[in-house]
């Protein structure tokens, strides 16, 4: 086993055997106590009971005594109830918004990484700017613009539109606009990094072999940026699935509720419904499990590549 040999060697040359684990210990203990145990608490509460006297959730820490009544109700609502509608809406919002991010974000990332020329640093600075502006501030800016007496309606009034719309009254397209606006920078950056890594020589080779610029793009650049596209999509889809603040701010209407809104409602706005909130969180995790695993694999591969 070469890895073991190497490990033994490091220990002889470097520190004694217990040194490295003891470096990791505080962090590992912290993550066990404040990530792993809380993660398990979601299941313990979802499968627990409700205390009849104090009317608050009573977690069941022993999986042999888990009670799936609440979870069953939530599943029932998911297949054929109101929750099913909300879940489908969430899926719809996330897919449409992600597709729009791809449509707008790809040309932007492509331009800044390959064609921006001398002013590249400035373009890069400008596409990075939203990173340092708080998401809530960016949403608040749109609430400003779209409010009944906001700049958008002022502008419409000056060009003579009557019947000014109330943009913030529960329109799907306004929420999707908010999601695209909010998350697109997080899509563009990893894609930019992956386009930027493509070796210029590969593209020259393609042209030397007779491909035009379109066919070079289609058959060389696009396939080489596949991982950047997938990575960017995963990075934006994960938080989008759990979003509740964007629909709340840009609509606030039950017609645009997402899964995150139901979780927010049962955890933050009531005290006795923790079990339902926990069960809904498990449903959300099932939705995003594939994305999480893909992302985990990507980070792991990047780490392994960096180690070599």
């Amino acid at each position: 086993m070469p890895t073991n040999l190497q490990g033994g060697e490091y220990d002889v040359v470097g520190q004694r055997r217990f040194v490295w684990p003891s470096f990791a210990l505080p962090g590992v203990l912290w993550l066990v106590a404040l990530f792993l145990v809380p993660f398990y608490a979601i299941f313990a509460v979802a499968m627990g009971r409700t205390d009849p006297i104090f009317n608050r959730p009573q977690p069941e820490w022993n999986p042999f005594y888990w009670d799936t009544a609440v979870f069953g109700e939530v599943l029932g609502d998911l297949f054929g109830g109101q929750l099913g509608v909300i879940a489908l809406r969430t899926l719809g919002y996330v897919f449409v918004a992600s597709f729009l991010c791809l449509l707008i974000g790809y040309p932007v990332a492509y331009f800044v990484s390959r064609k921006a020329g001398r002013w590249r640093w400035l373009w890069l600075l400008l596409i990075l700017a939203p990173f340092w502006i708080n998401y809530l501030m960016r949403m608040m800016s749109w609430v400003n613009l779209l409010s009944p007496d906001g700049q958008v309606n002022q502008f419409l009034a000056t060009i003579g539109v009557e019947n000014l719309p109330d943009w913030l009254a529960g329109h799907n397209y306004v929420v999707i606009l908010g999601l695209v606006y909010g998350y697109i920078p997080f899509f563009i950056l990893p894609l930019f990094a992956s386009l930027d890594r493509i070796d210029e020589a590969t593209l020259e080779a393609s042209r030397d072999l007779g491909a035009g610029s379109f066919s070079t793009f289609w058959r060389v650049t696009l396939p080489l940026s596949k991982n950047g596209v997938l990575g960017g999509l995963v990075i934006i889809m994960l938080p989008m699935f759990g979003d509740y603040y964007t629909p709340t701010l840009l609509s606030g209407s039950p017609r645009t509720r997402m899964l995150g809104n139901t979780i927010d409602q049962f955890i933050n706005q009531t005290t006795s419904q923790g079990a339902v909130g926990a069960a809904l969180t498990i449903v959300l995790m099932v939705f995003v499990a594939g994305l999480m695993l893909y992302y985990l694999r990507t980070i792991n591969q990047a780490t392994r590549a960096a180690r070599e």
């Binding site: 993550l31 990530f35 596409i127 800016s141």
Partner: protein, 292 residues
């Protein structure tokens, strides 16, 4: 037209135009919001002249970031949390990065896996998890600053590990081994060789932990205790739809300036300590992993 059809991506005009429109769309709404934080009147859509009343104001009016208690508390709370988180998460993360990079024991792999998990878990899941565990198991943790601090450190540690570990791999073991060949003890080699080489990553971690903590909304909101633990993002969220005065825009602008300041400071430190280290790309990748 024919050449455009055969080659839509490479036309000199289309791409810069799309990019410029995108940048305008992404930045102009925020610039408008900043502009109206300097409005002399109460409106956030009709310009009534320049003033700093929403920033400084007077104690009697109590309508500015400086004198409106709810805005000022939010600013204090955000700064306090970000500083505390930065000071605690960075050392824990650095130690964890060194430990995980070099430890070959049986538990090393699961520990590494555990460290990666917070990076890929949606924040709302972490918020629910922490809320439920503080509510039902760790009864000694009170909601408010203490719970928020524990939550912020938890999601920050993994970012520090990723940043520091990248640098550790780049440095390798050669320098330390050379130091020990020249007679340094392992702990001397660490203190006098490894730590100075890690400086750029340490400064980058400090800046990034400060920035992600002060920018965080979901965890802060799930773990909020009362009016005194409302942070700036939580305050923006609760106030944005209630026809707020421009002081809310002023508060958001202050947050933006603080974030940019922290990142710039971190970047400067990186420049000073990280000459010729070629870390730019890995720094970009790390930024790319930010969620809100």
């Amino acid at each position: 037209m024919r050449s455009f059809l055969s080659n839509p991506w490479n036309k000199p005009r289309t791409l810069p135009l799309v990019t410029a429109m995108y940048i305008l769309w992404s930045i102009v709404p925020v610039i408008i919001a900043i502009r109206f934080s300097f409005n002399a009147g109460r409106s956030r859509s009709t310009w009534q002249g320049f003033s700093t009343r929403w920033y400084l104001g007077t104690p009697e009016a109590a309508e500015s970031v400086l004198y409106d208690p709810s805005l000022r508390f939010a600013l204090n709370q955000s700064l306090k949390l970000a500083l505390l988180t930065m000071l605690v998460a960075t050392p824990i993360g650095i130690a964890l990065a060194i430990g995980l990079a070099r430890w070959r024991g049986r538990l090393a792999k699961p520990s590494n896996f555990l460290m990666l998990f917070p990076l890929v878990t949606p924040e709302i899941v972490m918020g629910v998890a922490l809320f439920l565990v503080f509510d039902n198991l760790y009864d000694f943790v009170t909601f408010g600053t203490m719970a928020q601090f524990l939550g912020h450190v938890t999601f920050s540690i993994s970012f520090v590990v990723i940043i520091v570990r990248g640098r550790l791999f780049a440095i390798g073991r050669d320098y330390e081994e050379a130091a020990m060949d020249l007679g340094a003890s392992p702990s001397q080699a660490m203190r006098r060789v490894l730590f100075p080489l890690l400086m750029p990553a340490i400064f980058a971690s400090l800046a990034i932990v400060f920035a992600i903590s002060i920018d965080d909304f979901v965890i802060s909101q799930f773990l909020v205790g009362g009016a005194d633990s409302v942070t700036i993002p939580v305050r923006l969220y609760s106030g944005a739809r209630l026809a707020p005065p421009p002081s809310l825009n002023a508060l958001a602008t202050v947050l933006m300036v603080v974030t940019i300041g922290a990142v710039t400071l971190g970047g400067l430190a990186l420049k000073v300590f990280g000459r010729k280290s070629g870390d730019d790309e890995s720094a970009l990748e790390t930024i790319g992993r930010f969620e809100i």
